[in-house]
């Protein structure tokens, strides 16, 4: 057993950290949010230059052959920087589908994605679906030699800047059947995306498909969706750990410098215990993020799904405690837009609800028999 990073992995994490140290100061980030895209095109170019955008794709497709651990290490740094660029939607979600797509599609798109020229998004959520990946009302019909898709997808992360969408759409069965869900790819020009800002400062879009011309990626698509989402959950776990790490460290620093009643507030035992509880939550989350990588690679789909749920539960619970307490222990200052801590809290809140919040997954896991088998 070895939790240490390889030398290559350390180098990767360091170079990403360094890139953000230079390009992601608080004021810089604010300017990115205000820009037309809502994120930094200059940083995006740097992602490409550093090889982050092509990392998880096979070398023969034009990528660098990285694994999920590499992706997760990047995600952790994204969390620490509160990065706004469409890396998660393009590389983790879109890339997850692309890696599993036909050789033809991979050959066409991977080089473009790696170069930062093609941004991807995953259009999945529907008004009624909540967190159920299989609850799909959007329809797919064969037309001529191809497919057309009709329906509305909500909360499509970075859907307003995507060049291509991976879309779940139903070609058979009832709205909540596990079968009959296809994964399709639609070019942005065939869809209408209405972008808006999300509560954490990011971007998302409501995307409408009206008989949109689509390319079939997988006809029985749900297993593919679940595999991609399991990887996304691992990346989100690392991102959350990155956020928690910073929120906790900021809180400790602040406690040591903030004076009330003639002494640093870190001298009050009630607050010391709270900071210790935050550390317990953070370490539990960190451990679970390692498990997330292991679980996402499980070849047994049921085991993988249970593992991913367990990860979401622990990360969500920890993120809530660390996020809320980091605000509380700061006092009023962390309630302001001009102070970074609140932005970590908001991101942690949103991170929890991506692909199902802790409440959703504890129910799913409990219904699925939990983690420990009774002999």
């Amino acid at each position: 057993m070895d939790f240490d990073l390889t030398e290559d992995q350390s180098l990767l994490a360091d170079s990403v950290r360094k890139m953000f140290a230079d390009g992601y100061g608080f004021e810089q980030r604010k300017a990115y949010i205000k820009s037309a895209e809502g994120w930094s095109t200059a940083m995006w170019a740097q992602y490409a230059e550093l090889g982050l955008l092509g990392l998880p794709f096979a070398e023969e497709d034009g990528g660098f052959g990285g694994g999920l651990t590499d992706t997760c290490l990047i995600a952790e740094q994204m969390g620490k920087a509160l990065a706004l660029e469409p890396w998660f939607s393009t590389v983790v979600l879109g890339g997850g589908f692309l890696r599993r797509a036909s050789a033809e599609l991979r050959r066409e798109l991977v080089p473009q994605v790696a170069a930062g020229e093609c941004k991807l998004a995953f259009a999945q959520v529907e008004r009624q679906s909540r967190y159920d990946l299989f609850d799909v009302a959007t329809t797919a019909k064969r037309e001529g030699g191809g497919w057309v898709i009709t329906g509305r997808k909500g909360m499509v992360l970075h859907g307003d800047s995507a060049d291509r969408f991976f879309v779940t759409a139903r070609h058979a069965g009832g709205q909540r059947d596990h079968g009959g869900i296809g994964v399709f790819m639609v070019e942005a020009k065939h869809a209408t995306a209405r972008g808006f800002r999300t509560v954490d400062g990011g971007r998302a879009a409501e995307v409408e498909f009206d008989k949109a011309h689509a390319i079939l990626v997988a006809e029985d698509g749900l297993p593919m969706v679940e595999a991609v989402v399991a990887e996304a959950i691992a990346a989100l776990a690392f991102e959350a750990v990155g956020c928690m790490d910073i929120a906790h460290a900021m809180t400790l620093d602040y406690m040591k410098t903030r004076q009330q009643f003639g002494k640093p507030i870190s001298s009050f035992q009630a607050l010391q215990h709270r900071a210790a509880d935050m550390l317990v939550a953070l370490e539990q989350a960190r451990s679970m993020s390692f498990f997330a990588v292991q679980a996402a690679a499980d070849s047994d789909a049921d085991e993988r799904r249970r593992g991913a749920s367990a990860v979401k539960v622990q990360i969500g619970r920890s993120a809530r405690l660390v996020g809320q307490q980091s605000i509380q222990l700061h006092g009023g200052i962390a309630m302001t837009m001009e102070y970074a801590c609140g932005h970590y809290f908001k991101r942690l809140t949103m991170n929890d609800s991506l692909f199902g919040d802790a409440d959703h997954h504890i129910k799913a896991l409990a219904d699925d028999g939990g983690l420990v088998k009774a002999a």
Binding site: M155, F196, A270, G332, G342, T349, S353
Partner: protein, 399 residues
Amino acid sequence: MDLNFSAEEIAFRHEVRAFIDASLPAATRAWLVAGKSPTKAMVVEWQKILNAKGWAVPEWPVQWGGPGWSAAQKYIFREELQMAPAPSPLGFNVNMCGPVIIAFGTEAQKQRFLPRMANLDDWWCQGFSEPGAGSDLAGLKCRAVRDGNEWVINGQKTWTTLAQHADWIFLLCRTNPEAKKQEGISFILCPMNLPGITVRPIITIEGGHEVNEVFFDDVRVPVENLVGEENKGWDCAKYLLGNERFGQARVGASRERIRRLKIIARESMDGGRPLIEDPDFRRQMTEIEVELKALEMTVMRVIAQDMKRADSKPNPATSVLKIKGTEIQQGVSEMLMKAAGPYAWVDGDPDEEGSNEWDLAPDWAFGLAGTYFNWRKQSIYGGSNEIQRNIMAKAFLGL
């Protein structure tokens, strides 16, 4: 023991409810139901309606426009307003500065300020906290120096809620830097339109503008703007803070939000069924309802005790109300956000009416996350929940 409201009290509740139904502008009610904070115009309009009815200042003596209600009636009135939901009479006027002037002010101050406060002709704000004086309020530095017939004020206040609307600010200023910290503070009233005052907005994490920094640079007010004795302002402050804590139980407000939660949970889907049918959701919500019932009974006990107490000092039990009341409100705001599932991510500016013409999310989902973020303030202000525990450890537990 009789835990029931009397027939008169029940009749009173109906009277209040009927009045609110008949007089509360529909647009204001709809705005508040949607979870938004009322605009200045809404608060002013409504308080003038209440004042015309003689109901704007329930806590004040009859002589100054109070309706002469019992503690139970005041409680019923507050609860009905919160449940309507209607704006509450402006706390800075009615529950904070007004009672201090009544308890500590001169006759001239009462004549001059109280009627305009009651009618919200003047909007007041609270200038207590400073960058270096939060929980340790008595550590405040903002100076007021006597110069002939004037106080000259220099320093900074912060977190000043709705100072952007205010005509007046009530200040705690240091008037004797040599004395022990609590003994060199005075309570001073200051118009907001004087030269030397600068108000700078502080934007809170959800994007709203409700708090401000207020700077004082050689601001001059007449000596008669001192309330109570010079260097005895801490007595006013303690009196005021005790009243503030009591107001934070907000039982009616939580009940209104739970009602809202139930309505949203009928529309929001989970597992192919309305969320309200999910046993886990219902259990979580019901836990809060039970806590709220217990809090309500605790509030009633405090009221009953207070009705029998001779002195009007704040009851130390108000710390219990503050802690539990804010925890419940924060809990409900979190459940409201989570009820919207992924649609809670849409960023709704809480102060602006988004037209939602593109139907980005259900109308009811806007602002739910923002309120959850914003309401983290509740366990910080009004004496943080940690400070309340310190007060209890001292005042109740003798530790």
